[in-house]
Amino acid sequence: MRNILVLGSICLLLLGCAATAGDLATTTSSSAASEIRWVVGTGTTLKAEAVASSADILPLAVGAEVQVLENAGRWLKVQSASKERGWVFAGRLSATPPVAEVTPSEGLLAASAQQSQIEIAKADSARSIRGLSAETEGYAKERGTPLEYRQALDGILARRVSKGEIISFMRAGKLGEYAQ
């Protein structure tokens, strides 16, 4: 009886170790197959092939999660949340999620974590039309900021670079996905 009990305990120990080892093995293979990256670059698209001039399959929004299927250096073959497969330039993805913009809810410090791109776009286009915001004009008046500095700030805010200019600049410098 004593021998049976000792044998049983040893079996239990072995089973425990085997189960742990099995769990480790499963985890290693599944984590390699399901590596997640987040889209950080604006204007990112899923491409049919690992080249910038390749056809677009699907636009990928900033913050979208993709699953890495294959690593070909600076290009990654990925699967989107909608199960579409294609290639993305690795520089447009990150192993860390991007910053989530917030919108005010209960006071300016207690903002909700909702995406607020519409608010950002509205604020930016308003600046381009009317120069400095009423709040900044009020601050400048209160502090007695000379007109030349207010005009200089207006000039800074008015300066813009378009998407087309950025792409041309990257192409000319063979930067990022235009390096090939």
Binding site: I156, L175, G176
Partner: protein
């Protein structure tokens, strides 16, 4: 005998459980693991729930921009240079962890070697610091460091005075009437942090790492950041310290050592863009 058997059974269960627990801990320690990414994502959402919204942040940034120009000088009156710096900045910003806000990059006519970021994406670099750089990858690294501060909202996290915004409904209400003085005190505090005292060391190291990672994603040689710091180290003895990168940032030796420990993460760094000719052409 029964006691030994019970101990043996207990050990069997404990070994199984602790091995599984150690496995989970190892996964959390690995920055590339799914578990770690999920955890960091959750932390980010939780912390952002206490953060300031973009419009408020940008308004504070505009007030600081007015103050910075009065202290360091107006923008350099050379449109080709300003446009070039904005293009390099835009390329880097679109690869940053906060790519969806508009950024504005400005070269200030200042003889003090400095660069700083006001909240909301207003980034400044002095003409003196620009003149110490030798290629586009180095410029990208400096701008990426500042973008790192904007993305992590370091300036606003460094002051307790921002707490007065709690419970204030709009930025208009926060900047006028009875709150106006508190708003001015906040701007004063931020000026002190950005132009004199400097941000926390940990924030600067975080921005240095972000600079390497972001410029690498954009396609620039990330090791350019180390080159910039090494060049500044050589110039330190003969440079103006007050209000410069020397006085507002941690010792260069420490920053360089930390970045060198990360070099191995970029084995293809030497194959990436540096563009010295394009840079020199725009500086003329």
């Amino acid at each position: 005998m029964k006691r030994y058997l019970l101990i043996l059974c207990f050990l069997a269960v404990a070994v199984t459980a602790s091995a599984a627990w150690m496995d989970q801990l190892q996964k959390l320690a690995d920055p590339e693991s799914k578990e770690r990414k999920i955890l960091s994502g959750t932390t980010q959402v939780l912390s952002s729930s206490k953060e300031i919204d973009y419009i408020t942040e940008r308004t504070i940034g505009e007030a600081l921009a007015l103050e910075s120009m009065q202290r360091f000088g107006k923008p350099v009156a050379k449109e080709t240079m300003q446009q070039y710096v904005n293009l390099v900045g835009a390329v880097v910003a679109q690869s940053s962890l906060r790519s969806t806000i508009p950024y504005h990059f400005t070269v200030l006519d200042s003889s003090v070697q400095n660069a700083f970021a006001a909240p909301g994406g207003m980034i400044f670099i002095s003409k003196a610091l620009l003149e110490t750089l030798t290629d586009e990858a180095e410029l990208a690294a400096v701008l990426a460091h500042e973008i790192g501060h904007v993305a992590a909202k370091h300036a606003l996290k460094s002051t307790q005075r921002a707490q007065f915004l709690q419970g204030v409904g709009t930025i208009t209400a926060a900047t006028s009437g009875g709150k106006g003085k508190e708003y001015q005190a906040l701007i004063g505090d931020l000026q002190n942090k950005l132009f004199d005292q400097g941000l926390d060391k940990s924030m600067e190291f975080e921005a240095d790492l972000a600079a390497m990672e972001t410029s690498y994603r954009a396609g620039y040689n990330p090791l350019a950041m180390i080159r910039v710091l090494e060049r500044l180290q050589k110039l330190e003895a003969s440079s103006v310290k007050k209000g410069s990168w020397f006085s507002t940032h941690p010792p260069l030796k420490e920053r360089i050592a930390r970045l060198k420990r990360e070099q191995a993460r970029y084995p293809d760094a030497a194959t990436l863009a540096e563009l010295p000719e394009r840079f020199r052409g725009k500086m003329k």
